[in-house]
Amino acid sequence: MSQPIRNAVTLVVDGREVVAPEGTMLVDAAKMGDIEIPVFCYEPKLGPPVGACRMCLVEIEGIPKLQTACSTPVRDGMVVYTQTDQVKEAQNAVVEFLLVNHPLDCPVCDKGGECPLQDIAMGWGPGKSRFTDPKRHYQKPLELSPLIAIDRERCILCYRCVRFSQEISEDEQLVLHERGDRSFVGTFDDRPYIAPFHGNVIELCPVGALTSYSYRFRARPWDIEQAGSICTLCPSQCNVAFTVRDERVMRVLARDNKAVDDGWLCDKGRFGYQMLSGSERITEPMVRAGDGSLSPVSWEEAIRMAADGLRKAGPRAAALAGGGTSNEEGFLAQGLMRDALGSGNLDSSPNAPDPQLLSELARPELAAKVSDLDYAGGILVLGADPLHEMPILDLRIRKAVRRNGTRLLVATERPSALDGGAATDAVRYAPGEAIAFIESLAGALGAEGYEASGRYAKDAAAIADALRAIPDSVIVWGERLWRRPGAVKALHDIARALQMHQRIGTGLLEVPEESNARGLREAGFLPETGPGYRTAAAGKGAVQIRDGLASGDLSALLLLGSDPVRNYPGGETWRRALASTFVVAFALTEDESAKHANIVFPAESHAEKEGVVTHPDGRLQRLRRNVPLPSGVRPTWWALAEIAEALGTNVDYGTPEDVFAALCAEVPFYGDTAYEEIGGRGLRWQERDPGSSWVPQPTGGGDGTGVPAYAPPEGEGLVLGTYKDIWAAEATRRNPSLRFLMPTQRLELSAKDAKTLDLANGDPVTVSADGSRLEARVSVRERMRPGAAFLIEGTETDNANLIATGEPRRITVERRPEPETNGSASGGGGNGRARVVATPMPAEGAR
């Protein structure tokens, strides 16, 4: 289904001629003529209008009754009045009705000063209420969730939050109970509303009924400043606005950008700001003494020591960058490594993308953008679980399915949040066997050099039939497919076989593992590939860096917000490697890897950084400093430039903008993009010359062929796969309000395997493979492929990366005795999350 073409129609609103696209709702069309029609329930982001609040009644010539402007599409020649006596009477009436049960406790209400109800009551209300009877009373506030308080007296029953829960996030937890003026918003059986996007209801609420516990009573609108930036906690790179009071971030709000986030935020992005001013933050350079303790040093001293250490290592130095690293920082760091140290050992991912393929896939004609999903005929989610890896994409895909009837196909190793509900087809391959499925799919689609046979031939044929039947499909694929380059090669050939390069609105969209993965690649933070995907001198990738550090071949490591001990497979090996190496780390807090750093530099948070990041669909987006740097913290780009200068390279940048200009000079498809052009909404380089006509130059890497055929791991036992959980992240650990969401390790099993192993949900087990072991609890899941098992990466204890190697491997599962439940730290068997979920909300009193 392609985007409908809409003709312009002309109508007259209050005597003003307005031109608007056909099908536009009158409320929106009136805005084009600078006429505001007040609304409460209308919110286009929530889907079709419901006409519940009745605030937007207007007079339309030829229709005797007043009509709701939110639900009336414009017609050519329509004549509308929004100011007549009849309309004013109705508006006064609705405001008066709305205030009948509203407590008008504005002086103590968080929403006061930024409240649509206040504004509309002032602008369109009668100014005085005739209501003299007692108002509705409820116990208040109640804990709707550990993050949100609900005040049901203030609620004007506009249905927005309920519609969000039912139709946007589709968690279906919020409902309206009771009827009439006794209606109230709540959850079934008063259970806490726990869902990854639930914070959005706070922003949707047009009154102060839903407030955030972490912002409640912290500031009034006249105390705060608000400015925009980008959240770089995940690859969604949502556009946000930070609410700042007294130089501290107090709140994160969405900054609607249809091209990126559709105006939604996940709870991690929304509530993950307490860490920015938390006491655990590193705010000055520090040096580790022999006894492991850190002591502060001056910036000059730290830069000198870091430069000395790196100089000593020279070509034996290596660098890793994390997802929060900006393009400028990545560019500077790769220059530092390559030019000053002569080392090409740098990487930004554990997955080793193939340079040649990477630049092929960067071709503008093969790229899908986020908004293409809206009107895609079909979406194939391949090897990715958007909910955990790029959460906002999950909402976007649901929207396409719900509103435009997009057909959703899922092919993953682990059950995803999308199948079972939205998806019509779901293929489940064994952990690590993506390549077998993709090659069969390529064969079924007639791509040259592939056969439509193999283990997954039947599944692949069904998906191929579906894809062939839908002309405009988008394939959303996970970065992990790079772990077997042949898989991405086959994916590329599938895109060609589907003629994606010749069609508009179709293409590939990669879900990277880290936020600015794409920007770091474009800035050349990859072994063998320099800025703009140009060939660079050979170097080691993440896995070789680990082994090199462990064996002593490499002797120094620069970490830019990267935490390989926690986030990369083989965490234990990383730990040992880091322990014996000279490590310089730029870090927000002392994370698992920074614990082994000899020199720690304080890093900037995403609310403090100036720079550019690249969205997975190629959109350059600007990070802007919303809060001043904490005292003692200096910009990372500056520190990197200083280190490079100390190492003898001639770098002379006054601002991050200068760095970006230098980067642009090296990246042909960026052209001469300026900061101003990127602006507040970002700019896809594919849509601007010279990026739009960019053609990759052949690079030095392989073409993905000659990869040995995949063979399942030998031996007996379940095959282990690992996955990222949205909450198994540093942001969860460092934000007090989110801590309750930190998962403890669980072993996901199919019902069949659970039965064979005589295990049930919640049973404690020990999982081991080749000597490494961890503890977990069993979680039996639907739609699991028998023979597969999954563990979460990045948990605080029993991290799956202790066992995982990045390759599928066999594991042994043994029941272990139930740990003592006396509240002491009991290894990995804690049940912090389960406890919260099971705790009933404070009772509302006798019903």
Binding site: P49, V50, G51, A52, C53, R54, M55, L57, K65, L66, T68, S71, E89, A90, A93, V94, E96, F97, L98, V100, N101, R130, F131, D133, P134, R136, H137, Y138, Q139, I156, L157, Y159, V175, L176, E178, R179, G180, D181, R182, S183, E844, G845, A846, R847
Partner: protein
């Protein structure tokens, strides 16, 4: 009191209503039932059936009085899933005609549904029956089963290859589900809230498919129209209101009950003739079409023809055809409160004017009855009714505003009197009303606590 006028029923739907065992398919067939369905399926094309219905001028008996055939003709043609819903959620105070029709003659309804389904091209039909109609639901279940067994329902109706499926669905106790779009939401398993119109159900109804929704009585007329022809049907009633109407008469009459009469007969014949009139008391007012119709005084209404057009002209409506008679003993303020309370209780809460307007009206009337209201309150009551009217999402709000508004308008002195002294209880007749002065402090505190518990659920 004038002598009871000559009054007689004209029975079409009620033709064999007193026949025992009419609810069984055997008796229904013996008495000529399931003949029209043969005609409709074996001798007529769907378009012809539809044309017959359109020509008959049959108007919806559920309240709005819209032409049934025209409504059916709005459904798009073509091959798609189309639905027919029989609205059997009869819940309006004063209305009980569908109950009798379903209880005593379920097959007449089922036959009507099957024929209407053919006319509209719908093959999936539902009877959405009020949950409290338990007995009638059981009877319908049984009748539907019999109709399936007899081959009138199923994959191939009368072996024609035409499929018509029929399911009886029981509501969960909400008046609002009688509103056609709320009915659809409820049937889909959602909260029964009205939907925004347009799109109208004929275009986008149940599960997004074109849907025809008709009242029980409307559909019960269908076999007769198809069996005997539109011209035959039009002999009855008036030009604009053809046919007969089953009228539920209740309130202060000697013989409350359902009476089937030709549309257009004098209202007096219904009230004073068939229903036996009051116990020698003057009629103060009556609702001509259920509790949502503006009341008419005896002078205004008794001599009007009982037809859609006459009632509309008199500023009220025929609605579902339910007459509630109130004699001279009735306190209009109490009546207004009783009416408002019903709609307050049943308002779904989706749209603001209805949700808050019904609540506010009840509170003001309650105060008035206690003798605690001021003249401003009387103005406010009238103004609130006006502010509700026409501004709501569905007609429920208007359904309170219209009768309450009419009472304030027509019996203003009675309200003014209540401002002075409240409304005393009349032999317990008015629901134990009491004047504010007579109420003890403790009693009042208790009542207010009850009120809080009821409205706020906070105690």
């Amino acid at each position: 009191m004038a002598a009871a006028p000559t009054a007689k029923e004209t029975r079409i739907l009620f033709r064999n209503i007193d026949e025992p065992e009419l609810a069984s398919i055997r008796t229904y067939k013996e008495l000529g039932g399931y003949q029209s369905i043969r005609k409709a399926f074996l001798e007529m094309a769907p378009e012809e059936v539809l044309k017959e219905l359109e020509e008959s001028g049959l108007r919806g008996r559920g309240g709005a009085g819209f032409s049934m055939g025209k409504k059916a003709s709005f459904l798009p043609r073509g091959d798609m899933d189309k639905y027919l819903c029989c609205n059997a959620d009869e819940s309006e105070p004063g209305a009980f005609k569908d109950r009798e029709l379903m209880q005593k003659n379920p097959h007449q309804l089922i036959e009507g549904i099957i024929i209407a389904a053919r006319a509209a091209g719908a093959n999936r039909c539902f009877i959405f029956i009020r949950g409290e109609y338990d007995l009638q639901g059981d009877i319908l279940d049984q009748a539907v089963e019999e109709a399936y067994e007899a081959g009138f329902l199923g994959e191939s109706v009368l072996d024609t290859g035409e499929q018509v499926e029929l399911v009886v669905h029981r509501g969960a106790g909400a008046y609002i589900c009688g509103e056609e779009t709320a009915l659809l939401d409820s049937l889909e398993g959602k909260r029964g809230n009205p939907r925004l119109k347009p799109p109208f159900p004929a275009v986008q109804g149940l599960y997004g498919g074109p849907t025809l929704i008709n009242n029980v009585e409307t559909l019960s007329n269908v076999p007769h129209i198809v069996g005997s022809g539109a011209d035959w049907f039009k002999q009855f009633g008036t030009e604009q209101s053809p046919g007969t109407k089953v009228v539920s008469v209740s309130g202060d009459v000697r013989k409350p009950g359902n009476y089937e009469v030709e549309l257009g007969i004098p209202t007096r014949e219904l009230i004073e003739g068939l229903a036996g009139g009051t116990e020698e008391r003057a009629i103060k007012c009556f609702f001509p079409g259920g509790s949502s119709a503006p009341v008419l005084t005896a002078e205004e209404g008794l001599d009007l023809p009982y037809s859609f057009e006459a009632m509309q002209e008199a500023g009220s409506m025929l609605g579902s055809g339910s007459i509630i008679v109130c004699d001279e003993r009735t306190s209009i303020v109490q009546l207004a409160l009783r009416t408002a309370k019903f709609y307050h209780h049943e308002s779904c809460g989706k749209c603001t004017p209805c949700r808050e307007g019904t609540n506010w009206t009840v509170k003001m009337l309650e105060r008035m009855i206690r003798g605690e209201a001021t003249p401003i309150d009387l103005e406010t009551i009238a103004s609130v009714q006006k502010n509700i009217t026409g501004n709501c999402l569905c007609v429920l709000g208007d359904s309170m505003a219209a009768p309450v508004g009419s009472m304030v308008e027509k019996f203003r002195p009675e309200f003014e009197e209540a401002l002075e002294k409240g409304v005393p209880s009349l032999n317990g007749r008015n629901g134990g009303a009491r004047s504010g002065a007579a109420e003890s402090k403790g009693r009042r505190a208790r009542r207010e606590a009850e009120h809080l518990t009821d409205a706020g659920r906070s105690r």
